[in-house]
Symmetry: D2
Subunit: 340 residues, 4 copies
């Protein structure tokens, strides 16, 4: 039984971790922390889970926390993890960090959109936890930078094709749409019910922080710098994310060629499902509350324009589900445990 703790358990991603982990048969969730709700029962914050757990949110105390845990999930705003995680690693903990702090290889890329990084030496240790792509490295990792939600949709759709050289590395466009839970539980006018309901808009047109995260990974996969055009939008719904990605194929590949590329890449990857039938493309409805990433694709006949569609639940595969999947891989547990 792996002893697990969550630092920051009362945001939406933290709570989703609790939901998954209390049902995980090879894990014992021993401790959860929350600054805002220290001393409060988790089920007082999330009554939906009443009857399923007796956990009480605790203040974070390093020593007592370490005593109770083998694996740690940090579900905190960026900047806090870079302070805590070095110490956790020193104590021999394995850490899965849901923030952006350890997703980058290049500190300049990180610092350009976040802030100064105080633990950048860990970049050579941390592994980008995109499970279907980096599974081997994850097996031996002690620190995982769990991918952002948008990057998960975009990268899983592009990497197989990039690796095979089947798409051009210029002019890649990702038009992404996210449910409101992606914006978290903190109050803001944009996520006030009457502002977000029956509404739809793009946001952060001039630069979302997930864009450099994607560009770094894509460039590495392609072996050449990739500049992505990325426009995120806010959907009037709770959960779910869908990216429509516009690319150009390098030769006159058929839909079957595209399909084979994906099938080959994802053949032992239980959470990726392919949608070869253009009459029935992915729908976020099909992935809600699951750890799946559903991928569809279409080439307009007579052209080289390839449209990719990729859908996930932003809180599961886009955050906490993938984090648990990472833990499973790190701990030698079957990848799907606790995630079906």
């Amino acid at each position: 039984m792996v002893r697990v703790g969550i630092i920051g358990a009362t945001g939406y991603a933290g709570a989703e971790l609790v939901r998954i982990l209390i049902n995980h048969p090879e894990v014992k969730l021993t401790t959860i922390t929350s600054r805002q709700y220290a001393g409060v029962s988790f089920t007082d914050v999330y009554p939906a889970m009443s009857g399923l757990t007796d956990l009480v949110c605790e203040e974070f105390h390093f020593d007592t926390f370490c005593e109770k845990t083998d694996v740690v999930f940090t579900a905190l705003p960026h900047k806090l993890p870079m302070e805590i995680i070095p110490k956790l690693l020193n104590k021999g903990k394995k850490v899965i960090d849901l923030s952006a702090d350890f997703r980058f290889d290049n500190v300049d890329a990180y610092e350009a959109v976040y802030q100064a990084h105080t633990a950048k030496d860990l970049f050579k240790v941390s592994v980008y936890g995109l499970c279907e792509v980096n599974r081997d490295a994850i097996r031996h990792a002690s620190l995982i930078g769990n991918p952002g939600c948008y990057p998960t949709t975009v990268l899983l759709a592009l990497i197989p094709l990039l690796r095979e050289g089947m798409i051009e590395t210029t002019q890649i466009i990702a038009d992404s749409k996210s449910g409101v839970s992606g914006a978290g539980r903190s109050l803001a006018l944009a996520t006030h019910f009457c502002e977000a309901n029956e509404a739809f808009k793009a946001y952060k047109l001039d630069g979302h922080r997930h864009c450099p995260e994607m560009e770094e990974v894509l460039s590495k996969e392609a072996g050449t710098p990739i500049s992505l055009t990325f426009v995120p939008h806010l959907l009037p719904m709770n959960r779910g994310m869908l990216s429509t990605i516009y690319t150009t194929i390098t030769q006159d590949y058929s839909l079957t060629d595209i399909r084979h590329c994906f099938e080959s890449f994802y053949k032992d990857r239980p959470f990726v499902r392919l949608y070869p039938d253009v009459k029935r493309p992915p729908d976020v409805k099909y992935v809600q509350y699951t750890n799946n990433c559903d991928i569809g694709f279409y080439v307009k006949p007579g052209t080289r324009r390839l449209v990719l569609i990729s859908a996930i639940d932003n809180l599961v595969k886009g955050a906490s589900g993938q984090a648990v999947q990472n833990m499973n891989i790190m701990m030698g547990i079957d990848e799907t445990t606790g995630l079906r």
Copy 2:
């Protein structure tokens, strides 16, 4: 007082016409028809309008209909208008058709996605009713092909730039999202509440009929054939449509250049509003229940990628509002009358 009739008044577009026309100060709505609801009070079909109109849906009888009307709106499924409209024109009626039957110049383009056309000689008479672009031709028209909802968003964003040669004519991509009312009032599983709510997906990836409509207009405006990549999506909301359009500028134009192009083109066009502030792009919430088309734009610094965002209410500017705007222009009434 212009005497107006609506053929097909109980679909969503027809009902929106009723809503607008009964409040229009220079018009008398004299007759409305409906096959499904003949003999039924309009307010029994749409109780929301109870107290505002006593109109009863009638069976369509050509002679009696003609006696009561000077201007006719046809809000019917395509194919029916091409049968009725020639006769209405013969009687001297002015006609605004909300179907696709008279939107095309090229009959082959029409027949490729709809069906055989039996009144194609009228193509040289009909005017494409995109008011902000074709206002002069509309003034003298007797038959208007009222634009589709998707085309309205895409064309109003692209035409000013195309005319000035500021964007490339290749690689134009429109990623469009529509509220469910765009699918009409006919029952279908895709628009059943539980299927569309908390859901989001692309549809008609392999070809939406609005695509050739847009391609024909764009090609004419550009003076060169344009092949558009167009992917429509279904939003879990009632009304509203937003297109995110990806283009490449032909030179290193600044945002100010783009803005000036739009300001100049739309300076006497009361229903187009510009959103130059990238921090506050258009939101469908801002255009619901209005005849406005809101346009935003952004160039990623150091690149030539121009993102355009265009939002309308699909039932107003995307259908019935624009139809009334067309009527106003045809009849010499101030363009905004009844539409504020």
Copy 3:
């Protein structure tokens, strides 16, 4: 032309007042104030109205405000109006207050649920602005306490029957449901999108402040104290309010008797619509963006249990629409002006 000002124009009720008043043909909206947005264009706060008004939110300065206005709407949190309104009345302004400060006759009832009242001498001057009931008094009033949204639904359904002695004064139950805009524009976890969407609950089971407001009016109308059982609920939608009211009739009245009572009471009241057909009861959809109150009713055969259903748009008839209706009546303008 009546010169009108709004104190507190950027909350949802204030903004709805702006929307209505800028289209009102006999009014000039000369000034709007906002503490939070002083100096900001109204359309920067509500881009939807861009192009329709150039008003800039001002800081409230008593003298300049008074110079520009004949009629004043106060759309402020309770307690502030009781400080400002006495001075406005001294200057000869007519005032419509959307808060609870001047809705009560009995200061103890007010103070029990709000706070100490510093202008209670005005209670003998103020008129409860339930237009369909108090129209004559409103005509001569200088100060209107504009009714709460829940009270508007409940009182309009009950008063005609109470006046005729057709229902028992005991055991009246109102089960009310409100769209989220009723909670205002201030941020709160309960109205955060992900908490309110796909959710439904009762709230303030142990006492909503609209309950004593209703009890006071009902008791006065009945001539005997009435204790109401009132349970409000939060609907996952923007606008609209529906109350289902359970009462007992005092004799074996037929549905026709009930209908006649309502028809007689509301015969010159253009904003009340009756729904005698039990197969088609009121729906909040039918009243959205209107000033109507729709009322349905049903008696279970063989019993004396009368169910009443009453629906409004909480921001229009439940707040700003009724406020403008009050102004119309006070100023001798046709009641429906600006409200169709």
Copy 4:
């Protein structure tokens, strides 16, 4: 391993049964039938479950169906079950019927609101599957009439108090609100997205068929005829149901007395959760996708009016979850298996 089959697996309740049963550790779902989708993969009808099951919908053939099953769930429109179930029982199958056909004791009550019953002799065999109330009888049953969704909410809130004589048997009112999935997957204008979204109304004011179902059970529990006032409403959301129930207590019971009554009745019932804190009443959000029934209660001080609030997921505890709970009890499996 219990071999289980579902007749009618592609409606919402049937599909929810599939979802639960394929994850149930002591059951093997061997066959599912569907008239509409015979020959189609279940995951083609419900792509969300793709990867989780290979089941193909079959035409129903009695003999082959019987060979593959020990326990049968019938999720069909009423009337069909009464034809099939007698034969299934003859073959020794245990049957859980989700329709109304075997919920009644009194055939007249059934026939008054449904149609002639052709298998009424089975009424003495069938058990009303309200698990928390009839657990002992269910253990030995071979035929379960699985309760309606509305009755589940209302009965679980009322029965403990009725049994103790703590509430009056007259003047019980249930104001119930249901998510749209309660209306099923069949197309209808009332459940068309644009009609149900941003809408709210009562329906079947003059008699919902769940009312006599509740009255029969309540009367039996109380030992005296109970006439219920029941008004159902349609919520603009997918899943969830909440009933607000108005009753009168027979003595001056305190909230603690009420609480003790519930605690005592439900102490070994893992799916009922109590909400004694009036500041945090049940919310349908807390029960979505669970088999829980959450119950809150409040007595207005100085009165005998008791308000009960009861929430479930209409597709789980209101249909398929409770059906599986019934199966668990019948088969001697732990009640919560497959339902956490």
